[in-house]
C-alpha cells in the first residue's frame, strides 16, 4: 500500500509544483518507489519542471478513459530509476477527472509504488478537491504573505471536512511547508516570520524553503532544485524530505547570519 501525499495550497503560484518535483525526487533517491502525478488538468507543468516534457505521449486522463494503460502513460525519470511521472492532460474539460477514475488509477499505482505525490492545481474547487480527496498526508505549501496564509487555512478546512479520511473520521497528517522565505525581510519586520505563520495555521512545520535564484535556474534546466545541493533551497528540500521520513533535524536558512544582517543595516 502506497502512502498518498497531496501538495496543496489554495493560492496559485506559491511553489506546489516546485515542491512536488523536489519532494518526489528526494523520496525516490532514498530508494522509495515514487510517482508524481500532475493533477493540474489543462495546465500541465510538472513535466517541464521534471525535464520530461518531450517524452509525454499519454496522460492521466487517457488512463482514466482507458485509452492507454498506466505503463504507457508513466514516464520513468532519467536520473532516478525509482521515480516516475504521470503527466496531466492538456484537455480543457475540467470534468475529465472523475472520483472513480482517480481512485482506480491510485489503486493500481498503490500496488507497485511506495509513495504517490499528487501535485494539486490552485484553487479550492473541484480540481484541488480531487487532488486531496484520497490523501493520507497533506503538505500545505504557504508563502509568508497574507493571502497565501489565509488560503492555506481554507484548504486545511477542506482537508478536515471533505477528504476521504475526514469522511471516515480518520486523521489526515498535515504539514506546513513555508516557501519563498526571505530571512532578511523577516529580520526588518517586512515579512511574516516562520513563528507567525506557525502560530496562525497551527500545524507542524515540515520545512522552510528560502527564496532562491537556484529555483528559477533549476526550472530553466528541467532539473528539480533538490538535485542542486549547493543551493540553500535544494538543501532545505532535502531536509524536508528527511523530516517527512521521520528524522528530527534542525531548520536551516531561517535566520540570517549576523554578518549579513549588519551588512544590510549599513546598506552595503
Amino acid at each position: 500500500m502506497a502512502k498518498i501525499i497531496v501538495v496543496t495550497s489554495g493560492k496559485g503560484g506559491v511553489g506546489k509544483t516546485t515542491s512536488s518535483a523536489s519532494i518526489g525526487t528526494g523520496l525516490a533517491s532514498r530508494g522509495f518507489k515514487t510517482v508524481i502525478i500532475d493533477f493540474d488538468v489543462g495546465l500541465r507543468n510538472l513535466d517541464l519542471i521534471m525535464g520530461c516534457e518531450r517524452r509525454v505521449v499519454y496522460d492521466f486522463v487517457n488512463v482514466i478513459n482507458t485509452e492507454a494503460s498506466l505503463n504507457q502513460a508513466l514516464i520513468r525519470d532519467k536520473r532516478i530509476p525509482t521515480l516516475s511521472i504521470l503527466p496531466a492532460s492538456q484537455t480543457r474539460d475540467k470534468e475529465a477527472l472523475t472520483r472513480e477514475g482517480v481512485q482506480n488509477v491510485l489503486d493500481q499505482l498503490s500496488k507497485t509504488f511506495d509513495y504517490i505525490v499528487c501535485d494539486s492545481p490552485a484553487g479550492i474547487e473541484r480540481g484541488a478537491q480531487m487532488a486531496l480527496y484520497f490523501a493520507d498526508i497533506a503538505i500545505v505549501v504557504t508563502n509568508p504573505e497574507v493571502s497565501s496564509v489565509r488560503d492555506s487555512d481554507r484548504i486545511l478546512g477542506i482537508l478536515q471536512s471533505k477528504s476521504r479520511r475526514a469522511e471516515k473520521g480518520e486523521i489526515i497528517e498535515e504539514h506546513l511547508l513555508l516557501t519563498r522565505y526571505n530571512p532578511q525581510r523577516v529580520a526588518i519586520g517586512e515579512m511574516l516570520s516562520v513563528e507567525d505563520v506557525k502560530d496562525i495555521l497551527a500545524i507542524p512545520l515540515l520545512g522552510v524553503i528560502p527564496e532562491s535564484e537556484a529555483v528559477l535556474k533549476a526550472s530553466n534546466q528541467g532539473t528539480p532544485v533538490i538535485h542542486d545541493q549547493e543551493s540553500t533551497s535544494g538543501m532545505a528540500y532535502d531536509d524536508a524530505v528527511r523530516r517527512l521520513l521521520g528524522e528530527d533535524i534542525p531548520h536551516r536558512f531561517v535566520d540570517i547570519t549576523r554578518k549579513n544582517f549588519f551588512k544590510r543595516l549599513i546598506g552595503a
Partner: protein, 83 residues
Amino acid sequence: MSIFNYFLNKRQPASASVAKERLQILVAHERSRRSQPDYMEKMQLEILEVIRKYVEVDQEQVNIRLDNSDDCSILELNVTLPD
C-alpha cells in the same frame, strides 16, 4: 535598507506584525463560520430581517452564535439596539 531606514521603521509597527494581527482575526472568524451548520448564515439574515421590521439595526449589531455543549446546543442572539 540602510540603518537610517531601519530606525525610521522602528517608529511605526512593522508591517509584518500588522499582517499577523489581521490574519489572526480573519482566520478565527473564518474558522468559526466553517464549524457552523450551513443554515446559520441564512438564518442569521432572516432573523435580521425580522428585527428590522421593528427597529433599524445594522448587520454588525446582530450577533448570532451556536454553542455546542455535551447534551444540548445553545443558540445565542445578541442585538445591540440604538438608543
